[in-house]
Symmetry: C2
Subunit: 344 residues, 2 copies
């Protein structure tokens, strides 16, 4: 399988490392290597139909801030249409205004009959139906486990392993930064501002923390889950949204007196779509601390199924992209096997 | 798809209900119905190549304790070889001495080229390699999500969604009865004997609780996980095993003073295979209370992935069997689709 990588930031570098390190698995399990035949970032392009050296890409990026020796492509659309590759790994920075470049890349690759796996929330939180329908029409995969909850496999779990369940609702903690802040406020009696500064110093929160603490990031992920799991047709602006800016030390203390904690919970069902701070009883799975992500699904047969994982990080997000890449390899293998058998 | 059900106790009845209730899903997703063409218990047999009525089977079982009007088959081996069906649902009572009838049923069906999905721990905890190799040789599926942790999808999660991960270790609570007892001892200051009696009165523990409280049930499940996820070749007697009989109120109190709880933890890695009571920090995912099951896997890329679900119950175990049935349908569909396309 030949892959093209769009974007070479933390996630692009992480998946490059994973592809480098998992060749033995690809060969052992599927009898083929996975080659990186192209990679580009905002300023450069690397292309080689016979396969690029992952270490060379990683080293060049680190020393020159460019993934390729060549100039950035003038016409990315043409590049995505005319280069030979099987799978686009779309890992450019997200844009939640109109989906940005990520949207264009994904659309072009799908229309050109290429599979896509992405960590890019924007296009999926804004134009989910359009993109999934385009993939279906072209009989290719569009997979996006990495767009929600990092290494937490909530999408593939609910869509594949829980395929037989009627999933009635999902509640989850989808932003590790908010959870870290709320956890520290409670444990150490910190003010919101102090806990936020701590999160910024530790690298969990951006200098402009709006995207996290106002619940925008959680709302994007919740919209994707609503579309993917509940077959809804929503964008992130449909999410009723309250962030955690207004949470005071007093509110945390009052909750503690009732043996409860405050958590920023996203909830989706057929008729609900909301991100808001909620009181959660201590000891409940959703009372989890730290920067973890968690999702709890209520289903008709299995009851509650809960999954917990690391919500962000270079290796963790790469792990989710890798699981999508492997699912595509597995599906291709099943089709190939059947084809061989029908011809003999 | 035509299924044959071996065993018609709680689990057999649960999967019959699930098959009855999910026909719309089968048709919508795979374009075909799932028919029950046969079912037998220790005393009777029902057979109809054109499909049995699930409600009739359930009602007959409830009113007469027999699933079929016919006598139990004299020669089950011949029945499993000569009846036309695609999938055996093996849900007879487990036998952990030699695998018992379940082992014979599974072996016969696989050798006859039929898929098998089972909730039966004994055969898998004793003869895992033999059975999985037999399935591979005959190019059929042997699936057993329901044999470990009820509705908790730990096997399919780790084998399928985490296919790309190196799973370094797994720790879990695999027996809800023990967890209920330990939880109640801590919360209410009960003695072990008192909490056990409570569990028995609530129907969580058997009259002879040995199988649960001495860790035999957990050890069987851990052996299956060792074979399925860590590619080991062990039986349940290879598990180093300590139960919870010796846990005193004093031990629980002492743990609480250190903000810890005692849990019966199964742990498996390449060189470890042990069920034993362990101290777990309060707030850690493995400190979970009640009758839930939980498994936490440490992986190379994703870090810790944790899954929680109901460990037992009619609907819950049926849910796991249903997920295996659907995975088989999905695989058959991929093979069929490719075949069609290669012919056009």
């Amino acid at each position: 399988m030949d892959v093209l990588i769009a974007g070479f930031g933390v996630v692009g570098q992480g998946i490059t490392e994973a592809i480098r390190d998992k060749q033995e698995l690809f060969v052992k399990r599927f009898g083929e290597r996975v080659r990186i035949v192209g990679a580009f970032d905002a300023r450069s392009l690397a292309l080689d139909p016979s396969g690029l050296d992952p270490d060379e890409l990683l080293q060049r990026k680190q020393s020159t801030s460019r993934v390729g020796k060549g100039e950035a492509p003038d016409d990315v659309e043409k590049l995505l249409q005319e280069t030979a590759y099987d799978l686009l790994l779309e890992v450019t920075p997200t844009n939640i205004v109109d989906g940005g470049l990520g949207y264009k890349h994904i659309r072009t690759a799908l229309a050109a009959g290429r599979h896509v796996a992405t960590s890019n929330k924007g296009p999926l939180a804004l134009r989910f139906r359009e993109l999934t329908e385009l993939a279906a029409r072209n009989r290719v995969h569009l997979r996006y486990e990495a767009s929600v909850g990092g290494a937490m496999p909530v999408i593939n779990l609910s869509r594949e392993l829980l395929m037989g369940e009627d999933i009635i609702s999902l509640r989850g903690i989808l932003n590790g930064t908010c959870n870290f802040i709320l956890h520290r406020m409670k444990e150490e009696g910190l003010s919101f501002d102090f806990a936020l500064r701590e999160a910024q110093e530790l690298g969990y929160a951006e200098t402009d923390p709006t995207y996290d603490i106002d619940g925008v990031d959680s709302a994007c992920k919740l919209a994707i889950l609503a579309n993917a799991i509940f077959d809804r047709d929503v964008t992130y602006s449909d999410v009723v949204r309250t962030g955690i800016r207004g949470i005071t030390e007093e509110a945390i203390t009052l909750a503690a007196e009732q043996k409860k904690v405050i958590r920023l919970i996203g909830e989706v069902s057929r008729d609900k779509l909301e991100v808001a701070p909620r009181l959660v009883p201590a000891g409940h799975p959703l009372s989890i601390g730290g920067t973890l992500n968690i999702a709890q699904m209520l289903t008709d047969l299995a009851g509650d199924i809960t999954v917990v994982g690391r919500g962000a990080g270079r290796k963790e997000t790469a792990s989710a992209l890798l699981s999508d890449l492997l699912a595509i390899l597995k599906d291709e293998e099943a089709r190939r096997e059947a084809k061989c058998r029908s011809m003999t």
